[in-house]
Amino acid sequence: MKRLINLTPSRGGRWLLGLLPFLVVAMVYLSLSNARLAENPNDRLLPAPATMANTFYTMASEENQRTGQIVLWADTFASLERLLIGVAISALIGLSVGLINGGLPLIRAKFSPLVTVISLIPPMAILPILFIAFGTGEAAKIALIVIGVTPFLIRDLQGHALRLPDEQLIKAQTLGGNSWQVLTRVLLPQLTPRLLNATRLALGTAWLFLIAAEAIAAQEGLGYRIFLVRRYLSMDVILPYVAWITLLAFLLDQLLARTSRIAFPWYHAEEGDKP
C-alpha cells in the first residue's frame, strides 16, 4: 500500500472527487428545503430550486416597470464597472509605486513606512469619510475599492521587486543600463506577471468592499439588490444572486490566471507552479 501522500487521483477520478462535495451540499439543501416546504408551502427561507430559477429568469429577462431596465443586467453592469475601474486604478498605482519603491532605495526609505501604515487602516472604517468627501455616487465606491486593494498590491510588488536577485540588477548595469532602463527593462517586465497574480488574490477583497459600499448607498448593483430584498426575506433572489456573483468572481479569476499563463510562461516555470 502506498503512502497516503503518494496517492493521486486519475483524471476522471479528480473530476468526480471534486464534484462530490458539491453534490453533498446540494443534497443537504434539497432535503432541508423539502422538509420546510412540506410543512409550509409559503416558506421563504429555503426556496425550492425551481422557484429560484423562475425568479432569476424573471430578473434576467423582464424589464423593471419603474426604470425600464432588466434588473439583473443593470445590476451586473453597474457592479462590474465599479469593480473593474477600482481594480484597474489599484493595479496601475500598485505597479508604479511598487516598481519605484522596489527599485529605488531612496524613495523606498521615504514611502515604505507610509504604505505600511496606510495598509493597516481598515478601509471600512474610513468609508464615512469617503461618502463625505466624494458623495454617495460612484466615486466613493471606487475609492473604497482602491483604498482597500492598493496597499496590498504595493506591498506585494515591492516585496517581489526586492526579492529579485541583485545579480540581475548588477548584470543590467554591466550591460550599460541606466537607472530608468533597469526599472523598465528588468524590473517592470518581471513585476507584471506578479501583478496579475496579486490582483487575482486581491479580487476577493475588492468584491467585499464593492458589496459593502453598495449595501450602504447605491441605486443599483448586485450588493445593493441583495441588501434591498433582504427586507422581504427574498431568499429566492439572494441565493441566485450570490451564486451569480460567485460565478462572475470565478470567471474573472480564471481570466487573469489564463492570461498570465499564456503571456508569461517563464514566470510560472520559475515559481514552480504545478499545472
Binding site: E167, Q168, K171, T174, L175, T184, W266
Partner: protein, 264 residues
Amino acid sequence: MSLLEAKRLEKHYGDHVVLERLDFRVEAGDFVTLVGASGCGKTTFLKMLLGTERISRGSLTLDQRPIPEEPGPDRGVVFQKYSVFPHLTVLGNVMIAEELSQSRWLGKSFGTARRQARDKAMARIEEVGLANALGKYPHELSGGMQQRLAIAQALMMRPRILLLDEPFGALDPGIRQDMHELILTLWKEQQLTIFMITHDLKEAFALGTRLWVFDKLRHDPQAPEAFGATITYDLPIGERQPPADLSARLSERGLKTLTQETLL
C-alpha cells in the same frame, strides 16, 4: 602601463579586516584564477572590481583611473547563477546589451537599429553555440547553456575585464570540460582579460595564466578578525599543469595554511 593596478588595497567592515596588503599589476590578456578557502575574501575582491563593494583604503585603478563605485559596461560579469534575465529569450537576453546603449529611454530598438543589434547578438550567440535555441527562455535551458548565454551577454559590451564568480561551480564535470574549452577559445580569440574565482584547483591551473591564492598571512587566535587575507601566492602558470612539487613549494615558505588543507 598595466591594465589593472592595486596599491596597498584594503577592505574592512568596521574592525573586521577582510582583505589587506593587496599589491598587484595585471596586464591586458592575463587570465587570473583566484582560489582560496571559503570566506577568505575572494568574492569581496571581485565585488570591489565590479564596483558593488567600496574600497576601504589604498587604490585600485583600471586604465589608470580609479574603479567607479558602481557596475559599468567596462567590467563584464558572469555569476554562478541568476546571471541571465528570466523574462527574455536567448536572443532577447543578448540583444538587450545593444538595445540599452542604443536607446537610452526605451531600452528597445526598432527597424534598422534593431536589425543591427540582432546581427551583433547573433554573432555572440553563435560563438557560444546557442544558435539553435534563439527563442527559448532561460528556464528551458540547461545549467550549462544558461552559463553560455551569460557569457555571450557579457561579451556584447567588449568589457575591459571579464569577472567570473565560480561560473562553472554548479555544472556537471562533462559540461564543465566543454565550458573550459569555450572560455579558453573566447579568451584567445578576443584577447580578453579574465578574473575567475574557482574552488577547483585543477580548473584554476587548466585555465589561468596566473594563479592567485588568497589566504591570511598573520593570524591572531585572540582576535581572528584583526588580520585579513591577501594574495599569498601569485604563480605564473606556463605549462598549464600544476607543478608536481607545488605542495612542497607552498609549505617550504613556512606556511601551513587553511587554504592548503582545503585545496591540496
